[in-house]
């Protein structure tokens, strides 16, 4: 056990009137950011912190000590103990996490050490060389994190977890037209990275990006959504599956448990165990993280719920957070899906989405990194980036079919502490997707 965590835990054992949750975190990143097929900057960062929340009856007080040492911890604890009696009560608070189940131990490779800068720059030089033959330059990031935490609480919880995600995002941008295509890899096991197929996929997209650029008028289109888009829409939809959103009257799913909301071939599971994804052992409060069916055969099955809202709202507790969403693959071949579109769009990626009304799942956002026109079953042209204004529930209601293969999609979380997560999703064919305006630019 970390020395500072042990020190604070010992100090708090002198206060039987308190409940408490303590978390010690360590985090490192090696972060290569590139533009115009060259390094923008190369960053190494590390941090450590000790966070504590103390409860006295229904009163609570939290503090965090960055780069902790014993004198700093003692000072922070004294301040908290002096304060806690003066805090207003939260009448909804009952208890802290009491699930003591331990996850099966996993061997975690430190990918910062396993995947050094020499290898990263070698891979990027190779890719840049191939792209350059077609007038494209590379922009993106190549990241390895190594992070661990240990959580203790006064209910006897004592858990540790380590993650070492890898995130490679490569955007190929044409020097003149600025047409952009995207290829990514994410996971915690770099053996799943197949350099040749990654490179070939990027080149295939570069070939499509050399078609002429056109604009399209606003209106409803049949679209093929790339797996990244499907995953991102599912992530936004899942915000309404959180118990907190029910409590704030913001959930589309409130009162809809076990209702048929989507086509029967549409299922979403929050699954932290898939080796092709970035795996998780525990939820935010230390509850063991197991696969949870959220949408099963089109029916809404469960809210994601931790201890607080379990006790407040009476929803079943599961500790899931939606960090590992998997959309079940369908039975269509991607080539057949494209062939079946008379006139429509292929959308590679989404940008700057924001809810208009979360309860109604209405939102706006834009396409990015490769939007293509499909005519008579073939991708024929590049389309300027487009704005859509839609309801996510309507997008999934309008599903026609899903691809027979799911793909791992990494996401980087750039607000708060930098983290990497992943989802798995197939391509989706959707009718009546509402394009509300054009950006007139690539």
């Amino acid at each position: 056990m970390n020395e500072q965590l042990k020190h604070l835990n010992s100090a708090l054992q002198q206060h039987p009137e308190l409940k408490y949750v303590l978390t010690f975190r360590e985090w490192q990143t090696d972060f290569l950011r590139f533009y115009q097929s060259q390094t923008n900057y190369n960053i190494s960062k590390d941090s450590s912190s000790l966070a504590a929340t103390l409860y006295k009856g229904k009163k609570s007080c939290s503090f965090t000590v960055d780069h902790p040492d014993n004198p700093k911890i003692e000072a922070a604890l004294k301040t908290a103990l002096d304060m806690i009696d003066a805090m207003p009560e939260d009448p909804d608070f009952v208890d802290i996490e009491d699930d003591l189940t331990l996850a099966r131990p996993r061997q975690i490779v430190n990918n910062i050490e396993a995947l050094g800068l020499n290898e990263k720059t070698r891979i990027l030089r190779e890719l840049a060389g191939r792209a350059a033959k077609y007038g494209f330059e590379l922009y993106g990031t190549f990241i390895c994190n190594y992070q661990s935490w240990q959580m203790l609480n006064s209910n006897g919880l004592d858990k540790t977890s380590t993650l070492s995600p890898i995130y490679l995002e490569v955007k190929a941008v044409h020097k003149d037209s600025q047409v952009t295509v995207l290829e990514t890899f994410g996971g915690d096991d770099f053996s799943y990275f197949k350099e040749a197929s990654f490179s070939d996929n990027l080149l295939t997209k570069i070939a499509l990006a050399q078609n002429p650029v056109v604009d399209v008028a606003p209106g409803e289109y049949e679209v093929i959504l790339a797996p990244r888009c499907v995953a991102e829409f599912a992530q936004y939809l899942s915000s309404g599956m959180r118990a907190a959103s029910v409590d704030s009257h913001n959930s589309f799913f409130e009162g809809k448990l076990n209702q048929q909301l989507f086509p029967t071939f549409f299922s979403i599971t929050d699954d932290p165990t898939d080796p092709q994804m970035i795996r998780r052992d525990y939820g935010d409060q230390g509850h063991i993280y197991r696969a949870l069916k959220l949408i099963e055969d089109g029916q809404f099955r469960a809210f994601m719920c931790g201890q607080y809202y379990h006790l407040k709202l009476g929803l079943p507790k599961n500790g899931n957070t939606g960090a590992c969403l998997k959309i079940k693959a369908g039975n269509a071949k991607l080539s057949d899906m494209i062939t079946s579109v008379k006139k429509g769009l292929y959308i590679s990626s989404l940008h700057y989405m924001n809810f208009i009304n979360a309860r109604e799942t209405s939102l706006t956002g834009l396409t990015r990194d490769g939007t293509f026109l499909i005519e008579d079953g073939k991708i024929t042209k590049v389309v300027n980036n487009l704005r859509f204004t839609e309801r996510i529930c309507r997008i999934f209601e309008n599903l026609i079919e899903l691809e027979d293969t799911a793909h791992t999609i990494p996401f980087s979380d750039n607000y708060g502490e930098f983290s990497v997560s992943s989802a798995r999703a197939p391509h989706a064919r959707v009718q009546g997707f509402n394009i509300s305006s054009s950006t007139r630019t690539i």
Partner: protein, 479 residues
């Protein structure tokens, strides 16, 4: 600490290092969150340390940051920054360079009227509890919160050119919101909107008249449940200062960050439609539009005697009489564009890499009051309090929804509309600006949460704006 940072710079005077800088920050932070009149969370951290070391070797920057300021850690960070620069140069075509600047010195200590970290905790909590209780769920109000963040940061900067800066500032972010429901739909109102932060202490709650506006937001959220939506295709709109700050931020502020011109943000935040050839000739907006970046004004969150690259504070015209004339830049990008660096390089904390960031990014005031502007509008809407925002990769196509719109007919407000949504193309929109209110309406509207960069940073910054009118704007979004 001054001696410490200078001693680190001394360690970075190797022949292969053409430029180096070091930042050290210590940050106090406190957050308080009342939900439905109950204290849901209280958290603080005191003296959170951070250090960042950046070196330029062989035309490539390498950086290392940590929260560990020990001597051993500093040696490790220096070695890591050097290694990162040397390895980065293996994947580089163009050597990064910029002209030297003369050494300069900065010192600034901001003292809030009511120091939120020193005031009695009971007094602070009692005020917030009273505020939260006054908007607790009742009637159609089903959810509410009062939230605040206080931050005090002490920052040291030194570079290998001999420049040195030291500053201490206190910032506050207060916010409250109510949600109304009729069982079928929800509508919300915030106060004072999403750009509610300020370079101030607890006095910001009093300055922004929180207690005086609780009944207003309860009534408006409730009334929105039965309000109409806008039915016209196009309309004249007056945008309130709080929301106009965000419109400015997204469609001019980010668009004129020069690192975007060269694609340095493509992987995350995006590009810009602005090209180098547009400088000095591109009509970005109407004749009355004057926009500037000003890191010299201590009233805004973007004030700093010197940026995080050693460039002394500057006020720089970005748009003059509607024409794009300059950019927000780093020393490297300014050199590429043939401009003087604009003093816009900032890192949120010392262990963050400095980026081109807005500081105090402002629209110069025009003439007249908001009341006069409404009175001179025959038919239109006054929109304020941001609900949804979105803008494309090139900062060209935006769409915003505000919480409320006030219908104007014959110069008078005659009712409200819910979720008014407008969209447009950036230069067309700013060219449709025909009136900007005067100094009496001009104020800073600030945020803690401008996201940019990877690993992500959230910057504290301000926008000085007064309400403005835009003619014939698209207000019909089909869904």
């Amino acid at each position: 600490m001054k001696q410490k940072i200078k001693s680190i710079i001394d360690k970075l005077t190797a022949p292969d290092i053409s430029f180096a800088d070091v930042r050290i920050t210590s940050t106090d932070y406190e957050s308080i969150f009342f939900m439905n009149a109950n204290l849901r969370s209280y958290g603080n951290s005191k003296g959170s340390p951070a250090i960042g070391i950046r070196v330029l070797i062989d035309g490539c920057f390498g950086f290392a940051g940590s929260k560990d300021l020990s001597a051993a850690s500093i040696e490790r960070l220096i070695a890591k920054a050097r290694s990162n620069a040397i390895h980065g140069a293996l994947f580089q075509k163009e050597k990064l360079t910029f002209p030297a600047l003369p050494a300069s010195t900065g010192e600034y200590v901001h003292q809030p009227e009511i120091d939120p970290f020193a005031m009695p905790k009971a007094e602070k909590l009692e005020y917030l509890q009273r505020l939260a209780t006054s908007i607790k769920p009742a009637g159609k109000i089903v959810h509410s919160y009062v939230a605040t963040e206080f931050e005090r940061q002490e920052k040291y900067y030194a570079n290998s050119e001999g420049s040195y800066n030291h500053m201490i500032v206190t910032n506050t972010l207060p916010m409250m919101m109510v949600v109304a429901s009729d069982g079928k739909q929800t509508q919300s109102r915030t106060w004072p909107g999403h750009m509610s932060a300020g370079r101030a202490g607890f006095e910001l709650f009093y300055q922004q008249k929180f207690e005086e506006n609780t009944e207003t937001i309860i009534k408006e959220a409730t009334d929105l449940l039965v309000a109409d939506v806008i039915t016209e295709e196009k309309a004249d709109i007056i945008i309130g200062a709080g929301h106009l700050a965000l419109q400015l931020h997204e469609s001019v502020g980010h668009a004129t960050e020069a690192d975007r011109i060269f694609g340095q943000e493509i992987s995350y935040a995006g590009k810009t439609f602005v090209k180098p050839a547009m400088l000095g000739n591109f009509r970005y907006g109407s004749d009355i539009l004057n926009i500037y970046s000003d890191s010299t004004d201590p009233k805004g969150l973007g004030y700093s005697p010197m940026d995080d690259e050693g460039v002394p504070a500057r006020r720089v015209d970005i748009i003059k009489n509607g024409i794009l004339v300059d950019q927000q830049s780093s020393r490297h990008i300014a050199h590429k564009l043939g401009l003087a660096p604009s003093s816009n390089m900032k890192a949120s904390f010392a262990d963050d890499y400095p980026l081109v960031r807005m500081t105090n990014f402002c629209i110069a005031p025009g003439k007249g009051s908001l009341e006069e502007l409404i009175a001179s509008t025959e038919r239109g809407y006054f929109l304020d309090y941001t609900k949804t925002w979105s803008i494309d990769d090139n900062r060209n196509n935006f769409q915003f929804t505000t919480e409320i719109g006030y219908k104007i007919r014959d110069g008078k407000i005659v009712g409200i509309v819910k979720e008014p949504t407008y969209f447009g193309i950036t230069p067309e929109f700013w060219n449709a600006c025909d009136a900007i209110c005067g100094e009496e309406e001009w104020a800073y509207h600030s945020t803690f949460h401008c996201g940019k960069g990877e690993p992500g940073q959230v910057m504290r910054l301000s926008h000085g704006v007064a309400p403005a009118r835009f003619k014939n704007i698209n207000v019909s979004v089909k869904m």
